[in-house]
Amino acid sequence: MVKLTIDNKPVEVAEGTTILKAARQAGINIPTLCYFELDGMKFENKPGGCRVCVVEVEGRKNLAPACATDVMEGMVVHTHSARVINARKTVVELILSDHPNDCLQCSKSGDCELQTLAQKLGIREIPFKGEQSTYKKDSTLSVERDMDKCIMCRRCETMCNKIQSVGALSAVNRGFEAVVSPAFDQPLGESSCINCGQCVQVCPVGALSLVDNVADVMKAIADPTKTVVVQTAPAVRVALGEEFGMEPGSIVTGKMAAALRRLGFNYVFDTDWSADLTIMEEGTELLGRIGKVLAGDKTAKLPIFTSCCPGWVSFYEKNFPDMLEYPSTAKSPQQMFGAVAKNYFAEKIGVKREDMVVVSIMPCLAKKSEAAREEFKVNGNPDVDFSLTTRELAHMIKQCNLNLNDMPSEDFDSPLGESTGAAVIFGATGGVMEAAVRTAYEVFTKKKLDNIDFEVLRGFDGVKTATVDFAGTPINVAVAYGLNNARIIMEEVRDGNPRGFHAVEVMACPGGCIGGAGQPYHHGDSSIIRKRMEATYREDAGKPIRKSHENPSIIAIYKEYFGEPCGHKSHELLHTHYFDRSKKIEKE
Amino acid sequence: MTKVKSLADLKAMREKFQSNLDVREKSNNQEEMVQIKVAMATCGIASGAKQIMEYMMEKADAMKIRVVFTQTGCMGYCHAEPTIEVKVPGRDPLVFGHVDNKKADEIFEKYILNNEMVDGIIPVNYEVIDK
């Protein structure tokens, strides 16, 4: 242990602690800007670049960055001396001198860390006038970039490279011209970006933001010729409440359904329903492949990778074009829902495909790009018309003068609204695998599963592995979040799958969809993601039915429409195929 | 290729190469050394100045006397070629005429080592070349 004094307070902390953390332990909050950490998720960004967290350490010539300076025995630290405050203010003034003054229109206003900091320091004017950086605005289907606002905190770069290993973004140029950008300042859409949007989730300012589709949805609702159907993803219900001042981890399923109805959606359905459907298809596909491999069929590939996460799907299409037979061909729950809605349900209620608008509420930015994929369109009409994020839904609710807190609790509509606990846990890392095991086990062994809580598949480890005994047949499964973790497993599989995995779940975002880029900003507070996870498993535990194959509405639709999982009809509507989207060199 | 296998090896090597650099090393502190200027104009060369210079260089090496040898142009004593000027630290320069191997030996053994006079000194009535 190390003893030191911070602002005249004696503090004792473990060796190797930074001044920043020591101060926080002592209840002193030193402001930061570039610093970002997701505790327990191995995400750390501390380039020591912004210099906002500088403090005075007695006996040192220069001010020290609290985020990057380790404590030392007997250290005497001042976090708010005149020298520190002057330096900190000057540094923020410098940042503001190269930042547009358009807070009123900025999508990040109210959630912006720079704005908060400027307020905290009481900055009222900027003494420095000079050149401002200007860059081309750029947008993919999911992510908007306005680099004029970039403050070079490098969080996005760290996320894109270290955590996701996507490598779309890098710091480029140097000095005043330095900025984070794709290669050759090309549009992000032409880079290796997979639209996971985690760069947006960690951006402290409005430099990176989402493509806002609220107006499109409002327009569809206002159009009397359209039947607007909405589906809500599992992870939304455990996070939406935060936008309305509720405690993280609040479950707002019923209130959300009520709010959606009041917003004017004609049918309020649940993506959880199609998550159960996904388990039926994916589980059956898994058992089928295992059967084929056991029978010596060389064309069948194991392990099967989940394909629910669109960021992950783009990732392997771009990086592992030689391994496209590995992932499950099952569509994601969003797309399964869209396909069922625009075929089965439209037919059922007698609405033409073109007159139905399917809206999804997702914790995700990549879902926007997924919905726009050509293979998910019929004659140019997409199965899912608009994908909104949790944050957009919150804005929409606020825009319409509603307050989620005041909503009664209502149920989803039928028939695409009924779901099980297995579907709920899709929102957390390991959830899809657990749901699949619950079903696959019973289908494979024809026995009832006694304990359906697979604790080993839960929690925040980036990679989890387990062997499940399918009545004598050991099934090896792995769960990963963060695409760099996924990359390591893919490379391992390419090298012969030494650990003999049968099934692998991959989610791009930290902690799974609950940490998705479309969720309320967590500003680096990982306890928020933890609470969302706890809520997820709480919701599962409270459900009367917790296995997908026991969902009566799912049983009914197979009986009525699909016949059997992985059958002809389901292949037509519920399965997809993958494309080689890697970069190619062509000889001229 | 010869490898240096020890410090002794290296020192031996230095010894071996050192003579190559002698000319330069000496030039750095010529005031403290015996300087011998050999007149090497046409007449000097014709009467064997080159050979006498080489002989004296070997002699100096053999006697382990540090000598700076330089060539100069004609000193104006064409009648007495080969001529050399010898400057021993602390003494005035002397010019010797008709130098042959035997005379050279004498200059080294008697004049340079023991400051004994040797025949053949040409009276100092020449102009210093360096001016």
Partner: protein, 159 residues
């Protein structure tokens, strides 16, 4: 993602260079030095191939190329003119010489003349401060220059 087009021989050159460094991404700066040595500059397609060979994101390669002033994405003129703006040259009037080059060639720093003959660049100290101000045309060094000499230097390469 996009398709990159490049001639077969160029692809081979890049691949050979990368291979000589065992395709290690840590050697990217050495690789870029050699590739630029071979082509004179580092256009986007070339960087793409380097990135692919070294198995690293092209954004990072570009991040490096755009960081170091020695690397350029612009083809240089047949006779690249580099004006030393080191302190010694600066205080001895290098800026005036630079202005004269700009005027005579009608281009700015970093540009190449329309006929591709000359390009103009600044550099910091070639270490010939005794000759300040100094200009390099290709590998040839011109020292103790005044604006009056500029015309003659250009003429030397224009004939």
């Amino acid at each position: 993602m996009a398709t990159i087009k490049l001639s077969e021989s160029k692809i081979k050159t890049i691949k050979d260079i990368c291979k000589s460094f065992d395709n290690k991404s840590g050697e990217v700066i050495n690789v870029l030095h050699q590739v630029q040595g071979a082509f004179g500059y580092l256009p986007a397609e070339v960087q793409e191939v380097v990135a692919m060979e070294l198995n690293m994101p092209v954004a990072q390669v570009y991040g490096i190329v755009s960081f170091y002033s020695f690397f350029t994405m612009q083809p240089k003129g047949e006779h690249p003119i580099s004006i030393c703006l080191g302190t010694a040259c600066y205080v001895r009037g290098a800026e005036k010489v630079l202005d004269e080059f700009k005027r005579q060639l009608n281009i700015n720093v970093g540009e190449t003349t329309k006929d591709g003959k000359f390009s103009l660049n600044c550099l910091r100290c070639v270490g010939a401060c005794g000759l300040a101000p100094v200009v390099m045309v290709g590998d040839k060094v011109y020292g103790r220059l005044t604006p009056d000499n500029v015309k003659d230097i250009i003429a030397e390469y224009n004939s």
